[in-house]
């Protein structure tokens, strides 16, 4: 079933993509093949493959993880997504600590381990990258104020 749904989605992508590609037109051109041909070629092949996927044998059907595990994976994904959003705003140390604590809990760390890991990774990696390796990381507004 998953294969059918994905195949349908990809077929839609390929049709929509070709439709969008119709407007790719070079204002003036010196070459016989413009910016349109390659994407259309790829999308057409993608459409064919998508149909093949939908019609394909059922022997390769996907086995998803049990719902309880899937829920945890979804939650993990959301945590990482929120981390990505807040990385710059909260600064590396705070954002990392906040991300590590729940993720560590997912991987069966105790509360104590999770908090220690969060603070440790936040501060430790900041010192390693920002101070020692010269890879600039965001400090976050709150820390800027504290540091003056």
């Amino acid at each position: 079933m998953s294969e059918r749904i994905l195949g349908g989605l990809l077929l839609f992508v390929s049709i929509a993509g070709i439709w969008i590609a119709r407007s790719f037109e070079a204002p003036f051109s010196y070459e016989p093949v413009g910016p349109r041909a390659f994407p259309i070629l790829i999308l057409a092949l993608l459409g064919i493959s998508a149909i093949a996927l939908m019609l394909g044998s059922k022997s390769h059907n996907t086995v998803w993880a049990p719902p309880a595990v899937l829920k945890r994976i979804g939650a993990l994904f959301l945590i990482v997504l929120i981390y990505a959003f807040l990385f710059d705003k909260l600064g590396f140390i705070l954002a990392t600590a906040l991300m590590v604590i729940p993720v560590a809990r997912f991987f069966s760390g105790s509360w104590k381990q999770a908090v220690a890991g969060g603070v440790g990774l936040g501060v430790g990696l900041f010192i390693l990258f920002d101070r020692l390796l010269d890879v600039a990381l965001p400090t976050g507004l709150w820390l800027n104020k504290l540091l003056g």
Binding site: S2, L10, G17, I20, A21, F24, A26, Y30, E31, P32, V33, G34, P35, F38, P39, I42, L43, L45, L46, A52, L53, G56, H60, T62, A65, R72, I73, L76, F77, V80, L81, Y83, A84, F85, F87, D88, K89, F92, T96, M99, V100, V103, A104, R105, F106, F107, S108, G109, Q113, G117, G118, L121, G122, L125, F129, L133, D134, V135, A136, L137
Partner: protein
């Protein structure tokens, strides 16, 4: 021949500079650790370190030395968890579990580890010599390729990878095509037309390579690790002697040589790679051993064969990437992306234009492997300690370091969020058994493929026939079709033959 030697010496001068030696040592150490951690393999290690090396403003040759030594180190690390935990640290080490774990159970963990380190060294050494001998020849031959031949060559590379990996042809094809499609996002360099940017400023220059790589090989990896939580088995203790003895060495020495040579040639072929090389060599050594063997119950040849083969093929797979600019595996595709970050285009001209980088890289492979052998035998107990890093610390650590890498390159939130979303999609696709290597290869090759296609058709004034005009191009088309159909045909015949036997 003499000039090759002179160039190699020049390479040693680059790789032997104190800071580059230091970088190689760090890379070897990190690589071994990444390799031994189940779930993280060479592609993850290279992917995560690539943006950091770039952000540290390492010069291109040093960055490549770092990535190559990490790559080499991972191939050594995979065997440690295979032998002590019965869990392969990376895909190439799957076969090593078959005899490695039984040896550890018999109390022979030390000899199994040292023998496999020796085999790894042998494989890597043979393959690096192979690179020195064959790469310049191949580069010289490929310099005659025109845009049409190049285009077909890239089609061949994608077909090879698509034909060999994964169980379903439509899935492999979709992975390739989506990779190619995503590579068209951004401003078209020939005409200035915006393609699939949806008016988003950050997409004008296309989807950054690092964002794709981190999404697929770090974010989705973290999600997969939650799915496959290993029931915390304790690693076997290393008791007794660490070194293999003379008898074991004599038993395995020809195995190592044979598997190293075979592994190198399998590695050079696009698509095949370490997993296939180690499986093939293990099977053929087992067959050649005759009656008097203990394969499957802890034979030293059973750890020597796959390790020699997988290291040789890992190094061998650098050949098509360096000489043709067409990587044959996921990891080398990521490495090629690293080169393009530095505005270096791999391909036949690389050997003429950037001898410092090419030969520095090759020399660093020699140095890295000597370091790895030296690190892996006496310090094995140190590495084993890393097996007990708990997942609750490792997984969030990987997530944080990956984000550092993405942030370091452009410093914007958009890239971080895009990488995470790609990672989520990557997780779904990986669970659905979509192979990831063809996707990354498609993304890396997409732009070059389009440029070469357009150039070829410009030369011929739009005549499609140019793609089939030269004997080289026709040969490549035939090879591509054979690679796409061949493996499936063989498997089909195999199952047909087995069915009556089973009945």
């Amino acid at each position: 021949m003499e000039s090759t030697f002179a160039l190699l010496m020049q390479g040693f001068a680059v790789a032997g500079a104190p800071e580059n030696l230091m970088i190689a040592l760090i890379g070897c150490f990190l690589g071994t650790i990444v390799g031994l951690l189940p779930g993280l393999g060479p592609i993850n290690g290279v992917a995560i370190l690539l943006p950091i090396a770039f952000a540290m403003k390492l010069p291109p040759e040093s960055a490549l030395i770092l990535l190559c030594s990490v790559y080499a180190g991972c191939e050594y690390g995979g065997r440690i968890s295979a032998i002590l935990l019965n869990v392969p640290g990376d895909a190439g080490a799957v076969m090593t579990t078959l005899d490695g774990y039984p040896m550890a159970k018999k109390g022979l963990a030390g000899p199994a580890l040292s023998m496999s380190a020796m085999a790894s060294f042998c494989g890597a050494l043979v393959a690096t010599v192979g690179i020195v001998l064959f790469a310049p020849l191949l580069a010289e031959w490929a310099i005659a390729f025109g845009p049409a031949e190049y285009f077909v060559l890239m089609v061949l590379a994608l077909c090879c990878l698509g034909g060999l990996v994964g169980d379903s042809l439509p899935k492999a094809a979709i992975a390739c095509l989506v990779g190619l499609l995503l590579s068209t996002v951004g401003i078209d360099s020939n005409s200035g037309v915006y393609r699939y940017t949806f008016d988003m400023l950050h997409l004008q220059d296309g989807i950054p390579f690092i964002v794709i790589v981190i999404g697929l090989f770090a974010v989705s990896e973290v999600m997969l690790m939650l799915q496959q939580v290993h029931s915390g088995t304790e690693p076997m203790a290393i008791t007794g002697r660490l070194m293999f003895n003379m008898k074991e060495f004599m038993l395995a020495k020809w195995t190592m040589v044979r598997c190293s040579l075979a592994g190198f040639f399998i590695g050079v072929l696009p698509g095949a790679g370490a997993t296939i090389a180690s499986a093939m060599c293990y099977a053929s050594e087992r067959r050649m051993a005759g009656k008097d063997h203990q394969f499957g119950e802890g034979d030293v040849r059973g750890v020597a064969a796959p390790e020699a083969a997988n290291n040789a093929s890992a190094n061998g797979s650098l050949v098509p990437m360096l000489t043709l600019g067409v990587p044959g595996s996921g990891t080398t595709a990521v490495m090629m992306g690293a080169l393009t970050l530095y505005n270096i285009t791999p391909g036949p001209t690389l050997f003429q234009d950037q001898p410092v980088i090419v030969w520095g890289l090759i020399a660093s492979l020699f140095i890295a492997n000597v370091m790895l052998l030296a690190l892996n035998i006496p310090l094995i107990r140190v590495f084993v300690k890393f097996l007990s890093i708990p997942n609750w610390l490792l997984v969030p650590g990987v997530a944080a370091i990956s984000m550092v890498g993405v942030y370091a390159v452009h410093g914007n939130t958009f890239d971080l969020v895009l990488g995470t979303l790609i990672g989520g999609a990557g997780y779904l696709l990986r669970v659905m058994n979509f192979p990831i290597a063809p996707f990354i290869l498609g993304f890396v090759l997409g732009d070059m493929m389009e440029q070469n296609l357009r150039r070829a058709l410009s030369i011929s004034n739009g005549e499609i026939g140019v793609l089939f005009s030269s004997p080289i191009a026709i040969g490549l088309w035939i090879a591509a079709a054979a690679m796409l159909i061949g493996p499936r045909l063989l498997r089909f015949i195999e199952t047909r033959r087995q069915r009556p036997a089973a009945a």
